[in-house]
Amino acid sequence: MHDTEPQFEELPDSLVARLKSVERSQAILDPRTDSAILDEARRYFLAGRSRRVKKPALRWALPLAAAAALLVALLVVQPFGQKRSPDDVDGSGRVDILDAFALARSQADRDRVDALAGRIVSLSPQRGEL
C-alpha cells in the first residue's frame, strides 16, 4: 500500500480493513446530483469555447483540390521535355489543319500558310499527328 515509505507508522491490516469498510460502505449514489454537476460543466464549456470543428468536409477538401490541380495539369500543361513543333501554331500539341487556319488568321505570309497546309496533307492519314 505504501511501499515507498517507512513502515514504522503502519496500522494492522485488520484495523485498516475495518476503517475502509466503514467509510466505503457508505457510498452515496445520486444520479440527479451527477446530472446537475455534469450538465453544469457542459454548459460552462459550451458557453465559453468553440464547438468541435466539423472535420469531414475539410478532410476531403485537400485531396479534391490536389486531384483537380492534377487534372488541370494533365489537360493544359505540356509534359516537361517535350519539344513543341514550330508548326503547332495553336498550341494544341499536334499539327493539323487547325494550325493552318490559325496561321492564316494571324495574317502570316501566304507562302508559309501554303507550306504548312502542304505538310499537313502529306502527314500520316491518322489526323496529321507528327
Partner: protein
Amino acid sequence: MWRDERRSDEQLVDVCNDGDAEAAAEAFEALYRRHRDFVLRVARRFTRDRDLALDALQETFAYLLQKFPPAGPGLRLTAKLETLLYPVAKNSAITALRKTRRLAGGDAELDEMSGPPEVEGAPIDAALARLSPERREVVTLRFVDDLSLAEIATALEIPLGTVKSRLHLAIKDLRADPETRALFDP
C-alpha cells in the same frame, strides 16, 4: 457519455484547459467519475449527512470547474488531484454544516462536528472517535484514502514533519486504546 478510464488526471486536466467544448466536458466528466467517491467520502466524514455531503460534492466540483477557462486561468497539476480536492471538499462540507447549524440556532466548532462515521456497535470506530480531530484526519487520509505522507502534507498544507508526528501519536493512541490494543499484538 463517460468512457475513458485510460487517460491520466494530468491528460484530462490538459483537455479541460485547452480542448474544445465537447472534449473538455467529456474530460471533466471523467475526472468527476474518478474522484466523486473520494469527495463524497470526505464530505460525509465532516457532515455525517447525506444531503449535506451531496451539496459539498456540487460545491467542490463547481470550484474545480471554475479553475478552467473561460472563467479560470487553467489548472496545472503539480500533485495528485486529491490533494487539491480534499481541502475544497472539507471546507465545503464544513460550510454546509455550519449553515444548517446556524439555521438550527447553533454554531458548534469544527472539532466537534467532524468525526468518523457512526456505526452502532463498532468498537474500532469508537476508538477512532477518541482521537483528536487532527490525528483522526491524518489516519483517515493515510489508511482510508491511501494518500502518502507527502500528499497529506500538501492536502492539509502543513509540514511533512507535522504529518509524521500526528500519525505517530495517533497510532500510539490506538495502541493504547482498549478497543484496538489487541489488534496490534494478535
